[in-house]
């Protein structure tokens, strides 16, 4: 009903007080009423005795006057001699003197003297029997008016009649009586029959309903002149007038009550306000907290509400703290303390909108550490994490105001608002590159780390964050391709290339089923004998419209999309199928990428291929590059061990390039090491190349591994590597990669090659 506590409290208290007040007022009214009634009753009784006396005195007075007149000799003489005029004048004289209304004489013969009004005279004549009976006083109705009558016999000297004085019992007379009363009583004379209540008629004060309201009334019977019911003197005291005496008391009570009520309403309002104000404050604070504001309420008292306020504040502070931490976790990278991807996306969205609104450009720089994986693997994750933290710190210092975020791994991004067009963007990129100028010192290691940066500028390179980020990444990709440690701006061409890659991907998915893939084989020749020892299987894609697609073009796509798994399996299967038809001392070698190992697809594919073709496991050789150790895990290593235990041979391809490390040779017992073609190329020009090749062959021999020299194009190269200790050679000198048919032909003309050697 009432939505606020203070209204409810105020109404409750006021209601209770008002009820109590009403009870007091009602009791007061009833007690007052009873008291007043009792008082009035006793006063009425007292007054009635006074009225009795007044009545009697009046009667006596009139009687005396009548008697005196009746005895007056002259008067008697006038009456006895029939001198009516004299008698009437004597009556008039007396009427005036005594203030009488009517005075007359009734003769013993019934004749009435002294009244002109015939009706009055007739009433007077009817008094004769009573007069004759000796009645001398009482009330009788003359001319319709009740009057007090007093009679005196006229002895002239015998009884000749009666002098009768009649005093009107009219209002004037009654007022006269009333004025003699101690209390303001209204008196009236009524025929006895008019008073209904027998108790009142019997002279007991009682309640009487009058036109003016309730009254206390008392009736005094008045003796009738000549018998009959007679009349009563009715004394009334209106209750209203009786209560009027107590009106000031009642008004005072009412005013006091009203004042009290106001005080109670005000007091309870104040009290409830003092209770509800802190509650309202809490209510408001709770609602503000609900809307996410940080709030605290004032603790004014030490009572329950004060404690509640304190608890509320503690709760609000707790919530705010948790919220801050959640936000921090949600939007911060826990490792570096930089904003995370989620925060970066929101920030980028906001910045893009503002930039668009202001007509300004916005620069997004995608940064990626070069070869971070190698550091992580060789020095351990703690070192890698420490490096990331240091990189984060340097990037922040480098860009100042701009936002630096870590998107994950070694990916960082910077959102900057350049002051002066692209020049600003370039300077930002240079500052970022500058952050990597000094080597990082981590756990006693001194690490030279470089980063590649892709730059996209909104709105030119994309108005929305998705496009901008994708384009920055494309630019980064380009920078990586361009040879690491540099930066590239996004160009529309990059987008076209990306588009082309997508088309390539679609075509590649189709190619396997459509039989567009084909294996070519390049022989590996034993340098001492000139015999073909094995073939390296090389994948060719004959695109229906584009013709031959280079492996460098589609293999990365296959690796990225995972298509490398079915394609790889197909290659192993196909290679094994061909090898089965070859002489039993000729092996087949298949290149396996790290992606295949990452997807744990190699083991299954090998087992299935060997089972399907029945090829001896030692006739299958898997060629892996060193990068597999940079990118894969212990699972890869165990998979390799599993394969080798099965009898499958494992060769290390392209040895000597990139992050070649002798530790790799220690970590896995390779069957063969293929020396990268760059060493063979440099054999004729550089001095060191020969020494390295010799060292590798020596090392391989020591470890019980075969060696193959790749990229032999001349006989001088062939002779050189044979001299340096290589067992096998591969290159155009012996044969370009050829299809399966030609490969068989090569095997059949093995003698010819031998001859050539």
């Amino acid at each position: 009903m009432f939505r606020r506590i203070r209204t409810r409290l105020a109404v409750l208290y006021a209601g209770l007080f008002a009820a109590a007040l009403c009870l007091v007022a009602a009791s007061l009214y009833f007690v007052l009423g009873a008291t007043v009634e009792r008082q009035v009753r006793s006063e009425l009784v007292a007054s009635s005795t006074v009225f009795d006396r007044i009545w009697k005195v009046r009667a006596h007075e009139l009687g005396s006057a009548a008697a005196v007149l009746a005895r007056d000799f002259g008067f008697r003489a006038a009456i006895a001699t029939g001198d009516r005029r004299t008698a009437e004048s004597a009556l008039d004289n007396l009427k005036r003197r005594l203030g009488l209304d009517v005075a007359f004489i009734v003769g013993t013969d019934g004749r009435v003297t002294g009244i002109a009004d015939p009706r009055l005279a007739a009433d007077a004549a009817r008094l004769w029997p009573a007069l004759d009976q000796g009645e001398t006083r009482g009330v009788a109705t003359l001319g319709g008016v009740p009057r007090q009558l007093v009679a005196a016999p006229v002895m002239a000297p015998a009884l000749t009649g009666w002098v009768v004085f009649a005093s009107d019992l009219d209002q004037r007379q009654m007022r006269g009586l009333e004025s003699l009363s101690a209390i303001p009583i209204s008196a009236s004379v009524l025929p006895a029959g008019r008073v209904a209540d027998p108790a009142i008629r019997a002279g007991v004060p009682g309640r009487l309903s009058t036109p003016d309201g309730m009254a206390i009334a008392l009736a005094r019977p008045l003796q009738a002149f000549g018998g009959g019911d007679g009349a009563v003197l009715l004394l009334r005291y209106p209750m209203a007038r009786a209560m009027a005496a107590y009106l000031p008391l009642q008004i005072a009570t009412a005013l006091t009550g009203l004042l009290g009520l106001i005080l109670v309403i005000g007091g309870s309002w104040r009290l409830s306000l003092s209770i509800t104000r802190p509650i309202s404050a809490l209510d408001l604070a709770a609602r503000r907290m609900e809307q996410g504001e940080s709030v605290a309420v004032e603790v004014a008292t030490d009572d329950e509400i004060g404690r509640l306020a304190r608890s509320f504040n503690a709760m609000a502070a707790g919530i705010a703290e948790r919220e801050r931490r959640i936000t921090e976790l949600a939007f911060n990278d826990s490792l570096t303390g930089l904003p995370n991807r989620a925060f970066f996306r929101r920030h980028l969205d906001i910045e893009l909108r503002q930039a668009a609104h202001r007509g300004r450009s916005l620069v997004l720089l995608s940064l990626d550490l070069d070869n971070f994986k190698a550091i992580n693997d060789t020095l351990g994750h703690p070192t890698g994490d420490a490096l990331l933290r240091e990189v984060a710190a340097r990037l922040k210092t480098a860009v100042g105001e701009a936002l630096v975020a870590r998107l994950g791994g070694d990916e960082f991004t910077v959102v900057a608002a350049p002051e002066r067009g692209d020049g600003g963007a370039e300077r930002t990129a240079q500052r970022l590159m500058g952050a990597f100028a000094e080597p990082f010192r981590i756990d006693g290691h001194e690490l030279a780390v470089a980063a590649s940066i892709g730059i996209a500028v909104a709105p030119h390179d994309g108005a929305d964050s998705d496009t901008l980020l994708k384009n920055a990444d494309l630019a980064l990709y380009r920078a990586k391709e361009a040879g690491r440690g540099t930066y590239r701006f996004f160009e529309a061409r990059m987008n076209a290339e990306a588009q082309a890659r997508r088309i390539l991907e679609t075509d590649l998915r189709r190619a396997l089923g459509a039989g567009e893939l084909e294996l070519h084989f390049q022989p590996l020749v034993a340098l001492e004998t000139g015999r073909i020892a094995s073939f390296e299987a090389l994948l060719r894609w004959n695109h229906p419209t584009r013709g031959l697609v280079p492996p460098l073009e589609f293999i990365p796509v296959a690796e990225e999309t995972g298509l490398i798994v079915p394609i790889g399996a197909w290659v192993i299967q196909e290679a094994c199928r061909h090898a089965r038809d070859w002489p039993s001392d000729v092996r087949v070698a298949v290149n396996v990428s790290s992606v295949q190992f990452r997807r744990s697809a190699v083991g299954t594919a090998v087992v299935q291929a060997l089972a399907a073709t029945g090829l001896a496991p030692d006739r299958l050789e898997l060629e892996i590059t060193e990068s597999i150790f940079l990118e894969t895990s212990d699972a890869t290593l165990s998979a390799l061990h599993g394969l080798r235990e099965m009898g499958v041979r494992i060769a290390l391809d392209d040895f000597g390039t990139g992050y070649s490390s002798l530790s790799y040779l220690q970590s896995f017992p390779f069957d063969k090491i293929k020396i990268d073609r760059s060493f063979v190329d440099r054999l004729e020009t550089g001095e060191g190349a020969g020494a390295i090749v010799q060292a590798i062959t020596a090392l391989a021999a020591a470890l019980g591994m075969e060696t193959t020299a790749e990229g032999i194009e001349t006989e001088a190269q062939r002779d050189a590597v044979r001299r340096l200790g290589c067992g096998l050679g591969q290159g155009y000198l012996f044969s370009r990669p050829v299809d399966a048919v030609r490969a068989r032909a090569l095997l059949e003309s093995a003698c010819a090659i031998s001859r050539a050697a």
Binding site: S64, F73, A77, I79, A80, D132, T136, P157
Partner: protein, 203 residues
């Protein structure tokens, strides 16, 4: 007291001695009632007054209370009190006033018209007496036994009139028609009497 003459009687042989007994409603004898007989409805002629009647004032009272006199009688009012009296009457039969006369003074008043003459003293209200001036010779007042007798009343119808100062009837009198037949007839008449006026005024 026989004051009537029988000269007028046409046939004296047909006369009787009659007694009239007046009693009150309660049966008590009514004294001081004046009974007048009118044989055949006519008054009997009264004898010429031969003597002077007297109502004395003694002990502040009239005495007697009722006096019957024939028409033309003289009544003396001797005062035997030490105080003066003022005797008066306003009666139609005789209006007179004897103003303030003292002891041993005697005043005589002549009553020549029949009718009751109430007497009063203007000084002493308690003094009251009545003179009935009778117009018939057969008129007398009752004694203590309420009786009055008349001799030689002619037989035949007779009107009996009873008057008393307090008799409750117009003119304080009632009339009864009676036939006198036997030798000693007795007529009983019942009258209603008012109580005598109070000795002292109530007011």
């Amino acid at each position: 007291m026989i004051i009537f003459s029988l000269l007028a009687c046409a046939s004296p042989a047909l006369a009787a001695d009659v007694t009239v007994e007046v009693r009150t409603q309660s049966g008590a004898p009514a004294r001081e009632a004046v009974v007048s007989l009118y044989p055949a409805g006519r008054p009997v002629p009264v004898a010429p007054p031969g003597k002077t009647y007297e109502i004395a004032q003694q002990n502040i009272q009239f005495s007697p209370f009722v006096l019957v006199v024939p028409v033309g009688a003289n009544v003396a009012f001797p005062n035997y009190d030490k105080v003066r009296h003022h005797v008066y009457s306003f009666s139609p039969a005789k209006r007179f006033e004897l103003k303030l006369y003292a002891r041993e003074q005697n005043r005589t008043v002549h009553f020549d018209r029949p009718g009751p003459v109430p007497l009063g003293c203007n000084i002493h209200d308690n003094m009251s007496a009545f003179i009935l001036v009778a117009d018939t010779g057969l008129s007398a007042k009752t004694g203590a036994d309420g009786r009055v007798s008349f001799a030689d009343v002619p037989a035949g119808p007779v009107v009996v009139r009873v008057w008393h100062p307090y008799l409750r009837a117009p003119d304080n009198a009632v009339e009864v028609r009676w036939a006198v037949a036997s030798a000693h007839p007795i007529l009983q008449v019942k009258v209603a009497l008012r109580p005598p006026p109070p000795a002292a005024p109530a007011y």
